[in-house]
Amino acid sequence: MGAKVPRNFRLLEELEKGEKGLGAEACSYGLADSDDLMMTNWNGTILGPPHSAHENRIYSVNIHCDSNYPDQPPTIQFVSRINLPCVDKKTGKVDPSKLPCLAHWKRDYTMETILIELRRYMALPQHKKLPQPPEGTTF
């Protein structure tokens, strides 16, 4: 697809998309600190997928896009407590090796991709019934 979009342009694109709500309804994301010119830290929310233990829950995650983004995937950390195999039980960090979209990261993946994938991961049959900690608790 021609020239690589530099990190900041790419993040600005994503920011606009996130703020305008152009993306998927079930996920939302935006800069954690709108003054952060480097656009490193982001907030994301995932609306729990229906017909699962996550239904009607809103999960907050922190997304950290370091300078290698989007060549390297961002690091994801759950703020809301969640019981998922790919999420560290103590820190809430997402283990990149356990989430396919992080393990096989492609440059054209976005934060939205990750959020949607996380949501799909929650809805997987082997995960959707996992007992979940009370809503509102955080890591």
Partner: protein, 505 residues
């Protein structure tokens, strides 16, 4: 967050997308707090959801009630998400659960019978193979529950009674790729060529295959029979009519029955003796003979002049042919007349006679009975050069594998084979049974094997509607499948069936 100082009173217009898909546009001052916004959204003009049940998400953050829009840096034209939370007690349920069973992730079994969306998978659902991506895909699709028969017949019937499963089956059968796969999995069907496809796609076949009632009656019959001679042969020795003819190598059926081909019984089939391995191997007529004997659905049809003789013959497989090919119109029906079958001279119901003699013949050691069926007086012989037929008899026992020197079933020796019309007609009529046997194992039995013992209500349609079918045949409706279909739809009314047949060409 810090830049909210001077612009507190600015009014901005932004959108709120609710989880239901509605989109609201609001113009409020930046100083509006989240709770104010929620109260505004709670009105009927907007989302009409109590403020306490609303959750607003903007830019990856859940807006807290006391915070203002300015604090969240909401900008003109942006969009926030409104999520309606469920009743609070619903949300507490998983929480309570988690406190008790947190240590056993994954232990919660999927609730049985709860509809699950496709993406979420199917757990232990036995229908999983038909519901998930595999169904959409082309790989191993109906195999688990349809072809390999890992389940007991009871399981299968139970599945068949599930409307979902029926739907799946129908859909699967409407999928040409499924048909391809079924054909490819079964050597018999493969060898049948295009005909197999027609069979598998026929309504009649599908109905037979998916009629739990019929299958249940067969199971009852099998239980009654136990391992008795008929039970054994009824299951095994009745060849699926359209399928037997498809082995391309002689006598292979006895050594290596493919999984889907239990109905192929080169050795046990008493009619193997008619043509030896060769006859079965390449000759579609062998299938006709086998069908007539095994199920003899057409004996009942044989009320007409020529066919009547055939019916009287009892074990004569061509009684079936006489009926199937269209009673009086069958040019060969008259052939049956001059050759009463001494060995079957009784006029007991044809089915009993059929099955009895077939049973004997079907036992691998029953060469004598085989011969009995091959007695020259058998009207069958009349169809062929008696000399040729004699040769066959000498040359073939079911136990032996030596093919006859001359196969009476090769077209040049067999008048039937030179009549493509009668042939085609018969094959068509036989189609349902063939496919059934090929794909559901014992299901073939329901075509006729269940007849002697099953209660009247469970009789196969071709018997139940025998007289009606005969009438239809007399009137020139020769399509067996469609006749049956029409009669079933109309509950056996010939007039109604004719109407249906004419209105659904």
């Amino acid at each position: 967050m810090a830049d909210a100082s001077g612009a507190e009173d600015l009014t901005i217009t932004f959108h709120v997308k609710s989880s239901g898909g509605q989109k609201y546009t609001l113009s409020v001052p930046l100083s509006t707090t989240t709770i104010d916004l929620k109260n505004k959204l709670a009105t009927e003009e907007y989302a009409n959801v109590p403020a306490s049940a609303q959750r607003l998400i903007y830019s990856g953050k859940v807006l807290k009630d006391h915070e203002t829009l300015a604090q969240h840096n909401v900008k003109e034209g942006n969009t926030m998400h409104l999520v309606k939370s469920a009743a609070s007690n619903q949300r507490q349920n998983p929480a309570a659960q988690s406190s008790t069973s947190n240590s056993s992730p994954g232990a919660a079994p999927p609730a049985a019978g709860v509809p699950q969306n496709l993406a979420s998978g199917t757990g232990n659902d036995p229908l999983a193979g038909l519901t998930g991506a595999r169904y959409a895909g082309f790989a191993q699709l109906p195999s688990a529950s349809m072809l390999q028969g890992p389940q007991s017949p009871e399981d299968f019937v139970r599945q068949l009674e599930d409307p979902n499963f029926q739907q799946m089956m129908r859909e699967a059968m409407n999928n040409p790729q499924v048909i391809d796969m079924m054909i490819n999995q079964s050597p018999q069907l493969r060898a049948m060529g295009p005909q197999a496809r027609e069979i598998l796609q026929s309504d009649y076949f599908r109905r037979v295959m998916t009629d739990p009632q019929a299958i249940r009656s067969i199971m009852q019959m099998q239980q009654v029979m136990g391992v008795g001679p008929f039970g054994a042969s009824g299951q095994e020795a009745f060849p699926a009519p359209g399928v037997v003819n498809t082995t391309d190598t002689p006598n292979t059926g006895s050594d290596s029955n493919p999984p889907a081909g239990q109905q192929q019984q080169a050795q046990q089939n008493p009619f193997a003796a008619f043509g030896g391995g060769d006859g079965l191997g390449a000759n579609p007529f062998a299938a006709l003979a086998g069908a007539g004997a095994g199920a003899n659905p057409f004996a009942a049809l044989a009320g007409g002049a020529g066919a009547g003789a055939g019916a009287g013959a009892g074990a004569n497989p061509f009684a079936a042919f006489g009926g199937g090919a269209g009673a009086g119109a069958n040019p060969f029906a008259s052939l049956f007349h001059p050759f009463p079958n001494p060995s079957q001279s009784t006029t007991t119901p044809t089915s009993q006679n059929n099955t009895a003699s077939q049973t004997e013949g079907a036992t691998p050691t029953g060469q004598g009975q085989q011969q009995q069926q091959q007695q020259p007086p058998n009207p069958f012989a009349a169809l062929f050069d008696p000399a040729l037929f004699g040769q066959v008899q000498q040359g073939t026992n079911p136990g032996t594998t030596s093919p006859p020197p001359v196969n009476p079933f090769v077209p040049q020796n067999n008048p039937f084979l030179q009549n493509p019309e009668a042939m085609a007609q018969f094959m068509q009529a036989m189609g349902g049974g063939a496919g059934t046997g090929a794909n559901t194992g014992n299901l073939f039995d329901l075509l006729g094997a269940g007849r002697p013992t099953s209660p009247p209500d469970n009789r196969p349609p071709e018997e139940r509607y025998a007289t009606q079918l005969q009438q239809l045949n007399d009137m020139g409706f020769y399509d067996f499948d469609r006749n049956i279909q029409a009669l079933r739809r109309t509950g056996g009314s010939v007039n109604g069936a004719i109407e249906y047949l004419l209105s659904n060409p």
